[in-house]
Amino acid sequence: MPQMVLDDDDGVIAMLRESVAAFAEGRPGPQTVRSIRTAESDMDKAQWQEMAEAGWLGLMLPEALGGAGLGIREQAVISEALGRALVTAPMATASVLASALIAGSQDSEERSRLAANLVSGSSIIATAITDDIEASKLIARAADGAIYLDGRREFVEAAHAAVDFLVLARLGDEDLLLSVPAGSQGLQLIDRPGVDGATISSLIFTGCRLDMSRILARGDLGGLVEKAIDLARLALAAELSGIASKAFEMASDYTKERVQFGKPIASFQVIQHRLVDLWTEAEFAGSAVVNAIERLGEGDEKAARLAILAAKARASDAAFLIGRRAIHLYGAMGFTDECDIGLYLKRAVNLGAMFGQAEKLRRQFVSLERAA
């Protein structure tokens, strides 16, 4: 089975994989996807709570903030396994991105509160930031010892479940990173159905008033946010790689079972070669994610950035391609909603479009590399 090939001398990797698999056995991902969709909800809070109990939330937060102090390697292993199991929680935003933003903030009570909530899963922190960092900034103004926010942010996951939102804003010539309490006056949500079943929201800020204590960081935050997004991208790449791998296996298994003209369709050469190509894509996705993890560990910022862009592009293309081809290999069955394979494709579309589609990331890679 295609998956990331990582050294695992102490067995931690295997342990993490097993724990996700066990989790998914008790709470099958596709079932949760369907229930979220039926309820027109944005996420499954009970599932999130269990993930917190398993210790998967905020695991890259430093121990001082209550995190496990683990690295992107462990995060990627969990994300990959969640992808395989189609556990569609907002891991990349509400855990990875949020953790990185909180970890990069100044020390404050608010920061500690958010970190603790994140790790415990007790209250959810949604992020209202996309890869277009400039456009992500709301307009802030300071008045009577408070901050007032205006503007609109799209593509927010878990907006109804959230207790706090992390947002960026521009105040004069400096950036602010702020936490906004859900239900604030002057904050309105507009919902649209997401392709994988969970609602995606837009946030509209109209003179939304915040205490100064809600400022988590200020100054030039471009670098902090960019790095945080890169971590989220890498987590997404791992999740997409898991989706690709599992969708490939499902298709491969199905073609072995499915009999046409007296033979399993997997015995037809055209199907075999197509499966070989899909398998190659899934293997490449895994290797690309491993490469990004290693580059990130080496400290060369540009090399790491390139590797992450490549990994997200490769993994999302792989998951999208395999999802499409898998549906075709399933035949009519693949076109039904009751077959899980379609949910994998839809999830691949959703995650693939987050923080930059493949084509966009490839172009970024080339301009960054050539800027040398």
Binding site: F261, I271, H328, G331, A332, F335, N350, A353, Q357, E359
Partner: protein, 384 residues
């Protein structure tokens, strides 16, 4: 009503048809998002066609059809598409009707044809089974002749719009000993009979275009057999006829490219040479598909017959449809995450709907792999 449509020039016929459609197909039914509306949803249009005598373009006039030549039929289909008329439940008109006209008894014709035209009978077609897929000859639904009745047991699947049909024509196995393609018969079944159960199946788009149909000791009179017993395979294959060309019509990719245009205009994408380059490939593929389609249409117009080679159009059009919708998702950027329609200037574009819908035609109507197998053997004469 008793005119000889074929005696008109193509232009005259096109103009007459077009004018009447413009006047009689209600605006709210034109350019429907739903690909396969139910009878109730398009009843007005069905009945208008019926009253005008234009419901069954290729049926002979003595049976209430228009008796159109393939050339005129092509115009009928083209204008229908161009004017955005909705698809109607058309298994009665397109399949059961022609089957009965060719193979039915006089009694069957008298009984069933008028009811198709009136809308009293809405038909569906029971071909595929859970284990058969593109290998129709492997079907297992059985019919046993007992006391002048056939008793049917088994299951059909991918039966389009079965949940809004009241009659089904089914392929059943009437001789289990014979070779797979022998021993198959065609039966007409009243779906209100005891033992018939229909279960709609939701598709990727969340719609229920097709169903499973279960037969549990369903008793139908022996006179509901069409043609001779055990000869159903030949019957079932023959009704496709020249209509096979429409499987390869550029309709779907044409519609999708129009939507891509609209989205691209709204997003200013035509200013991006990278988009333009990919768009140009899709546009030219569509254009060239039109040229190739026209080549076959010309054969029909001049009274010729189509060979197996026409299947290449089916492969090309279905795969082009997919590529166009994939480009649409790429163009959507992060909005590809939405399941609903995208804003595009003055209107919406159903990108996700089309992307998901485009998965189907490459599978149904004989998967593209089967089509390539057929072309390899029947046209290229490759061995093995």
């Amino acid at each position: 009503m008793v005119e000889d449509w074929n005696s008109l020039s193509d232009e005259e016929f096109r103009a007459i048809f077009r004018e009447w459609v413009e006047a009689n197909c209600p605006a709210e039914l034109r350019y429907m998002r739903k690909q396969r509306p139910l009878y109730e949803e398009v009843k007005v249009w069905y009945q208008a066609l019926s009253k005008k005598g234009w419901l069954a373009p290729v049926w002979p006039k003595e049976h209430g059809g228009m008796g159109l030549s393939p050339a005129k039929h092509m115009i009928y289909v083209e204008e229908w598409g161009r004017l955005g008329c909705p698809r109607i439940p058309d298994h009665g008109i397109g399949l059961s009707g022609p089957l009965l006209i060719q193979y039915g008894t006089e009694a069957q014709k008298a009984e069933f044809l008028p009811k198709i035209l009136s809308g009293e009978h809405i038909w569906c077609q029971g071909y595929s089974e859970p284990s058969s897929g593109s290998d129709l000859a492997s079907l297992r639904t059985s019919a046993v002749l007992e006391d002048n009745h056939f008793v049917i047991n088994g299951q059909k699947i991918w039966t389009t719009l079965a949940h809004c049909a009241n009659w089904i024509f089914v392929l059943v196995r009437t001789d289990k000993e014979a070779k797979p393609q022998r021993g198959i018969s065609v039966l007409l079944v009243d779906m209100t009979l005891p033992g018939v159960t229909v279960r709609p199946i939701a598709n990727l788009r969340g719609e229920t275009d097709f169903c499973e149909v279960f037969f549990d000791n369903v008793k139908v009179p022996a006179e509901n057999l069409v043609g001779e017993i055990n000869q159903g395979w030949t019957l079932a294959k023959s009704v496709l006829g020249h209509e096979r060309i429409f499987l390869g019509a550029p309709t779907r990719p044409e519609y999708a490219l129009g939507r891509l245009d609209k989205l691209a205009e709204a997003r200013g994408a035509f200013d991006d040479p990278a988009f333009l380059s990919r768009y140009a490939k899709l546009r030219l593929d569509l254009y060239d598909l039109g040229s190739s389609f026209e080549r076959y249409a010309k054969v029909l117009r001049s009274g010729g017959e189509l060979g197996a080679d026409v299947s290449m159009l089916k492969i090309f059009t279905t795969e082009l449809y997919q590529r166009i919708t994939e480009e649409m998702l790429m163009l959507a950027g992060e909005e590809a995450r939405y399941n609903d329609d995208l804003e595009a200037g003055n209107g919406h574009v159903d990108a996700m709907n089309l992307f998901l819908d485009s998965r189907a035609p490459a599978i149904f109507g004989g998967s593209n792999e089967i089509q390539r197998n057929i072309l390899a053997k029947a046209v290229l004469a490759l061995p093995g």
